[in-house]
């Protein structure tokens, strides 16, 4: 019985033991980035770990804050990112990137990309809560940002983006409703994280779709070869496909994976806050578990995971709990009645391959 998601609930659901923490002896590191001009307070992290971190070894302060911090009020998103990245990827050196204090004429997300192009040494895993409607961005911008993700992938960085909190999205194109894909979630060079809920919100049970979980098909990027088989299988077997006019079936499909995104406890400005939800919660959780896998890889002399998708799809979701119940939201009209895509066996555009079963995921990703 529990009253909302805490680190203990996460570690129980994803089969983490008290030993599944960083060793503190490697150059392993992770980072979270959010662009809401929110401040992050170390005191909140310390309080969070005092309340919820008693059962596993952890660090109670971040290794580096990139971006000016001030004395303003902490933001829930900034607090959530750090607290769950450092409790899933426990005892691993963590950087926080936030952008308060930027010049008013600067674009926060673009400034973060410049940091990636300027720092020789960067954390291996980055979890980023940022997304815009694909249709609101120029193709020049989208293509160039996609190249920046390739630069990061070539350097072995793992970039995890939240899939978004509007389900399949919805907009009207020349009078007809269509689903509305999100970028950078739709980039073929990042790993996108969707969201789930417990089937029974007060127990650690199996997971079902969180109706807000972003997902769908890009209108800009064609489907990458690594997901051809998985997506074609979904399109040919799903019993609840929306009308084909709502989405671009040949586009890059996302998300790739998922984790719990509903009902989190967060400490912000010294106050424990319940029922916080969004894929910006599931993303640091999944990122923290990948950092633990990197820890094992580094300890055995292997390189970090890097850009995960080709391997993830080759292994067909090995090591992940498949989520097969539930659909996410979309257009509220007669035709689809608010329902976007629905999850199903194997990969689907709501929860990807599913949520992490840590011991099995570790086994499938630690070698080679």
């Amino acid at each position: 019985f529990h009253l909302g998601v805490t680190p203990s609930v996460i570690r129980e659901r994803y089969n983490l033991t008290a030993q599944d923490v960083g060793s503190g002896t490697t150059n392993n590191s992770q980072a979270c980035a959010q662009f809401l001009e929110q401040y992050f307070h170390e005191s909140d992290l310390a309080e969070f770990m005092r309340l919820f971190g008693g059962k596993f070894e952890h660090q109670a302060s971040v290794a580096r804050v990139v971006g000016k911090q001030g004395r303003g009020r902490a933001g829930i998103e900034a607090s959530l990112d750090v607290e769950y990245l450092m409790s899933a990827g426990a005892n691993i050196s963590t950087w926080v990137y936030s952008s308060p204090g930027r010049h008013e004429s600067q674009e926060p997300f673009l400034q973060w990309l410049l940091v990636l192009s300027n720092e020789t040494t960067l954390p291996h895993v980055h979890t980023i809560s940022y997304g815009d409607d694909e249709d609101s961005l120029s193709s020049a911008y989208i293509q160039r940002v996609n190249t920046e993700f390739q630069k990061a992938a070539a350097r072995g960085l793992t970039l995890l983006f939240a899939s978004g909190d509007s389900g399949a999205g919805c907009w009207s194109v020349s009078g007809r409703h269509q689903f509305r894909p999100s970028f950078p979630a739709s980039s073929p060079y990042v790993t996108t994280v969707g969201g789930t809920s417990f089937q029974n919100p007060f127990r650690v049970t199996n997971e079902v779709v969180d109706y807000i979980s972003g997902g769908g098909f890009s209108n800009v990027f064609p489907r990458p070869s690594y997901q051809e088989e998985a997506v074609n299988k979904f399109l040919s077997t799903s019993l609840q496909l929306p009308p084909s006019s709502y989405f671009n079936a040949s586009g890059r499909a996302y998300p790739d994976v998922a984790a719990l995104s509903d009902g989190y406890w967060v400490v912000s400005n010294g106050v424990p806050i319940p029922w916080v939800s969004g894929t910006s919660a599931s993303t640091p959780v999944f990122g923290g578990l990948l950092s633990l896998i990197n820890e094992h890889r580094l300890l055995s002399g292997r390189p970090p995971l890097g850009f995960l998708n080709p391997r993830l799809y080759q292994q067909r979701g090995e090591g992940l709990f498949d989520v097969t119940h539930g659909c996410h939201e979309s257009c509220l009209n007669e035709e689809v009645q608010g329902e976007g895509f629905c999850s199903g066996p194997g990969w689907d555009p709501v929860t990807g391959w599913g949520t992490p079963n840590f011991p099995a995921l570790l086994k499938s990703l630690v070698n080679p």
């Binding site: 662009f35 809401l36 001009e37 933001g75 829930i76 959530l80 952008s99 010049h103 008013e104 004429s105 600067q106 674009e107 926060p108 997300f109 673009l110 410049l114 192009s117 300027n118 720092e119 020789t120 809560s129 997304g131 815009d132 961005l137 120029s138 193709s139 020049a140 911008y141 293509q143 160039r144 190249t147 390739q150 630069k151 992938a153 070539a154 350097r155 072995g156 909190d165 060079y189 029974n200 919100p201 007060f202 807000i212 509903d262 319940p274 029922w275 916080v276 939800s277 969004g278 910006s280 919660a281 292997r302 890097g306 850009f307 995960l308 998708n309 080709p310 391997r311 080759q314 080679p368």
Partner: protein, 176 residues
């Protein structure tokens, strides 16, 4: 001249309120994305280091390797720097890969450099975030088409929070 981003939304997004014109001598910080080189080769390398079946798997590049591969051509660097200096841009700084240039310009200089642009102040979201953005699309001299991908700081607004604090889930019946 030409528009590098003809399909970029430039209307004010929901949640943001215009506060009026920026003064001509106010200072802006704009980011110029310079055209890179060898992008096909970069894509090949990403496949090679990310595919477990590849002999290159896990043999990642360093930042220096990436720089050597994608940095803009000397012609691009020279052309863009001359253009910016002529407009009065100052405090320009680049990144290791040299494919981004961030400069300080006054509103007046920026509106001269980026024809069509018109800078306004905006405020948005619960945190009352401030931004200066252009309420009109911009154009660049045609000679820059081979050298500049886009200019950052004109149209894309900072994100507003997406997190929700949902009401406690109501589960009928089965639990006390």
């Amino acid at each position: 001249s030409y528009s590098p981003e003809p399909d970029q939304r430039w209307m004010t997004p929901p949640g943001w309120v215009p506060l009026g014109r920026a003064a001509p001598e106010e200072e802006l910080s704009l980011t110029f994305a310079l055209r890179q080189q060898n992008l096909e080769r970069l894509t090949e390398l990403v496949q090679a280091v990310s595919d477990p079946g590849s002999p290159q798997y896990g043999k990642y590049l360093t930042l220096e390797d990436v720089t050597e591969l994608v940095q803009p051509s000397p012609l691009t660097l020279r052309t863009v720097q001359k253009w910016l200096l002529a407009a009065g841009a100052r405090h320009c700084h680049s990144v290791t890969t040299q494919d981004f240039l961030t400069c300080r310009l006054s509103v007046r200089e920026a509106e001269w450099l980026l024809s069509g642009a018109e800078f306004h102040h905006y405020v948005g979201g619960p945190a009352e975030t401030h931004a200066i953005r252009s309420a009109r699309p911009y154009q660049l001299p045609k000679a820059l088409r081979p050298h500049v991908d886009f200019v950052g700081g004109l149209h894309r607004f900072p994100p507003l929070s997406s997190l929700r604090q949902r009401p406690e889930p109501q589960v009928a019946g089965t639990f006390g």
